[in-house]
C-alpha cells in the first residue's frame, strides 16, 4: 500500500505514456515524457509560489503583530489569485530610452534559469525530473547565468538605480557563489559523484537503527549546511542580504523599471530560485526524500521532501521577519574573511572524516578541525571594537 502510494505519480505517468506506446516512435514518447515532467514541475512549483507568497505575508504579519492579507477568500488564501489578476491587467511600461530587446529578455531568461535549476532535484523515489550525471554542476551552471540576466535587467532599463542595483546584485552573487559551491564540494567528495540521486542514496542508512545518515549530522556537514543556507539567502536576494533591491535606498534595484507582469516574473524567479536552493540543501545535507526515522518510511518519499523543503522555506521567512538589512561592506567582509575560509575548512574536515572511517572518532576529529579554524578565525578577525550604545550625531 505504502509502496504504491510512494510511486503513485510514476505509475500515473507510465499509464499516460502507455497510450502512446506502440503507436508513436520512441523519440515522440521521450518528448512527451519530458513534457509531462515539465508540466508537473511547473504545476507544483507555481502552486507552491502562490502559496508561499500568501503564507509569507501571513507569517510576516503574525511576526509583526498584524493580520496580513485576510480579505480575499477564507483566511485570505485567494490573495495570490487576486495578485495575479492585478499583475496581468496592469499596464506594461517600457522606458523610452530603455534597450527594448534586453529589457524584455531579462525577466524571461531569469525565470528560465530558475526553472531549469529546479529540474535536477530528486523530489522523491524515482522522481527526478531530469537525471543528469553532473546534476549538481548543472544546477550551478544554470545558476551562474542568473548574474548575466540581472545585469541585462539593470543595463537594459537605462536607469541609474537599476544599474546600481544590478552592480550590487552581481557583486554579492559572485562573492557568495564561492562559499555556496565550495560547501557543496565536501558532499561531492564523500559521495564521489555529482549526481543528486546518488547523493540522496548515500544518505539512506541509519546509525544504530534510528539516527539517519544525513550529512547535516556530521560536523563538516552541519557547518557546510549553515554556510550553504546563508549563501542561499544571499543568492536569492533575501533579507538580510537584500542590498541589491533595498527598497529604501535604490527603490527596487534592477527591477525598478519593470511593471506589471514582468515585475511579477522577477518576483516569481526569486521565489523559484529560493525553492531551488532550499531543494538542493535538502538533497545535499538533509537526506533528500528519506524519512528521518526508519519506521516512518511508510510515508511517501515526496511528502518527506516537501516537508523538509517547507521547514527551510519557513526559516527563510523567519529570517526575513527578524533580521535587518546589513551593509554591503559587512556583507563582503563576511563572505571573503569568514565564509570562504570556513568553506575550505569544511572540505578538509570532510576529508578527515572520510579517511578516519566515518565513526565516532572520525566525527570528533572532524569537529576538532572545524573548531580550531573557527576559533582561530574569531581571534584573527576580532576588530577589538567594543559595542557600546550608539550615540547619534545630528546636524544642529
Amino acid at each position: 500500500m505504502s509502496q504504491s502510494l510512494d510511486q503513485i505519480f510514476i505509475h500515473a505517468k507510465q499509464w499516460l505514456l502507455s497510450f502512446l506506446s506502440g503507436r508513436a516512435s520512441d523519440l515522440l514518447i521521450q518528448i512527451v515524457s519530458s513534457l509531462l515532467n515539465i508540466v508537473a514541475l511547473l504545476g507544483v512549483f507555481l502552486t507552491l509560489f502562490a502559496l508561499m507568497s500568501v503564507l509569507e505575508r501571513k507569517i510576516l504579519g503574525r511576526m509583526q503583530n498584524r493580520y496580513g492579507p485576510n480579505r480575499v477568500g477564507p483566511f485570505g488564501l485567494f490573495q495570490p489569485v487576486a495578485d495575479g489578476i492585478k499583475m496581468l491587467i496592469k499596464e506594461d511600461i517600457v522606458p523610452a530610452r530603455a534597450d527594448k530587446i534586453v529589457h524584455f529578455l531579462a525577466p524571461v531568461l531569469i525565470a528560465a534559469a530558475a526553472i531549469l535549476s529546479l529540474g535536477v532535484i530528486p523530489y522523491g523515489r524515482n522522481m527526478t525530473p531530469f537525471v543528469i550525471d553532473g546534476g549538481i554542476l548543472f544546477f550551478f551552471a544554470v545558476g551562474s547565468a542568473t548574474e548575466l540576466t540581472v545585469f541585462m535587467a539593470g543595463w537594459g532599463s537605462n536607469n541609474k538605480y537599476s544599474m546600481l542595483g544590478a552592480m550590487r546584485a552581481i557583486a554579492q552573487m559572485i562573492s557568495y557563489e564561492l562559499p555556496l559551491i565550495i560547501t557543496v564540494l565536501p558532499v561531492v567528495m564523500v559521495v564521489g559523484s555529482l549526481n543528486p540521486d546518488k547523493i540522496v542514496f548515500a544518505q539512506k542508512y541509519y546509525y544504530f537503527g534510528f539516527l539517519p545518515h544525513w550529512f547535516v549530522l556530521t560536523p563538516w556537514g552541519a557547518t557546510a549546511f549553515a554556510l550553504f543556507f546563508v549563501s542561499g539567502l544571499v543568492e536569492s536576494n533575501r533579507t538580510p542580504f537584500d542590498v541589491p533591491e533595498g527598497e529604501s535606498e535604490i527603490v527596487a534595484g534592477h527591477m525598478t523599471e519593470y511593471s506589471g507582469f514582468k515585475y511579477a516574473t522577477f518576483f516569481m524567479a526569486e521565489y523559484l530560485g529560493m525553492f531551488a536552493v532550499s531543494g538542493l540543501a535538502v538533497t545535499l545535507f538533509l537526506g533528500g526524500w528519506h524519512a528521518p526515522l526508519p519506521w516512518l518510511a511508510f510515508i511517501p518519499s515526496y511528502l518527506w521532501f516537501f516537508a523538509k523543503l517547507s521547514v527551510l522555506l519557513f526559516v527563510f521567512i523567519w529570517v526575513r521577519g527578524t533580521l535587518p538589512r546589513i551593509r554591503i561592506d559587512q556583507m563582503m567582509n563576511l563572505a571573503w574573511k569568514f565564509m570562504l575560509p570556513m568553506a575550505f575548512t569544511c572540505v578538509v574536515a570532510a576529508a578527515v572524516w572520510h579517511y578516519a572511517g566515518h565513526r565516532l572518532l572520525a566525527w570528533l576529529w572532524s569537529l576538532a578541525v572545524i573548531a580550531v579554524v573557527y576559533f582561530a578565525l574569531s581571534i584573527f578577525l576580532d576588530t577589538r571594537k567594543k559595542f557600546t550604545p550608539r550615540r547619534y550625531r545630528f546636524v544642529e
Binding site: 534597450d99 534586453v102 543528469i132 550525471d133 553532473g134 554542476l137 548543472f138 550551478f140 551552471a141 544554470v142 545558476g143 551562474s144 547565468a145 548574474e147 548575466l148 545585469f151 541585462m152 543595463w155 552592480m167 552581481i170 559572485i174 557563489e177 561531492v188 564521489g192 559523484s193 555529482l194
Partner: protein, 161 residues
C-alpha cells in the same frame, strides 16, 4: 541525426558569433558573445562530454561573460557609442585564426578516427587532474594567483599619500 543537429548548432553559433563581431552597440556584442558560449557548450553535449559542456556554461557564461560586461562598464567608453572599424583587429583575428588552423592540422590525434567515448565519471576527471596533469594544474593555479595578487596591488590605495 547528429549531422542535422550539428548543422543547427553550428549555424546558430556562427550567427551569434557574427552578431558579436558586427553589432553596433558594444553591450549587445558582449551579450551575443555570451550566447555564443552556449552554442559551444551545446557542441560538447553533442559530443557526449557533459562535464566539459557544463563547465563551459559555468565558467564562460557565469564568469568570463560577466567579466567582459564589467570591463565594458568600468573602462571609460561611452557604452552606447557606435564602434569604429579597426584594421589592426582584422590582422590579429586572421593571425589567431591561422595559428589555430595550423595547430589543428598539425595535431596527430585529429587524423585518427575517434574511438567510442566512454562516459567519464567525476572520479576519473579528478584522478586525471590530480595525478596525470597535476603539474599543469598547479602552474595554472600559481599563474592565476599571481594575476589576482597583481591586480590587487594595482588597485590598492597607497595609505601614506
Amino acid at each position: 541525426m547528429n549531422i542535422f543537429v550539428f548543422g543547427i548548432i553550428a549555424s546558430f553559433t556562427l550567427i551569434v558569433a557574427l552578431a558579436a563581431a558586427t553589432l553596433p552597440k558594444l553591450m549587445h556584442a558582449a551579450l551575443s558573445f555570451a550566447v555564443m558560449f552556449l552554442g559551444i557548450s551545446a557542441f560538447f553535449f553533442l559530443l557526449g562530454a557533459e562535464f566539459v559542456g557544463l563547465v563551459q556554461v559555468f565558467v564562460y557564461i557565469g564568469a568570463v561573460a560577466v567579466l567582459i560586461v564589467f570591463t565594458i562598464l568600468l573602462t571609460p567608453h561611452d557604452v552606447g557609442n557606435v564602434r569604429g572599424f579597426g584594421w589592426s583587429g582584422v590582422v590579429v583575428a586572421i593571425a589567431v585564426f591561422g595559428g589555430l588552423i595550423w595547430a589543428i592540422v598539425k595535431t596527430k590525434s585529429v587524423a585518427i578516427a575517434p574511438s567510442v567515448a566512454k562516459a567519464l565519471t567525476v572520479k576519473q576527471i579528478g584522478e586525471a587532474l590530480m595525478i596525470s596533469y597535476v603539474w599543469p594544474l598547479l602552474c595554472v593555479g600559481v599563474l592565476l594567483t599571481a594575476a589576482l595578487i597583481g591586480a590587487l596591488i594595482l588597485v590598492m590605495e597607497d595609505k601614506r599619500s
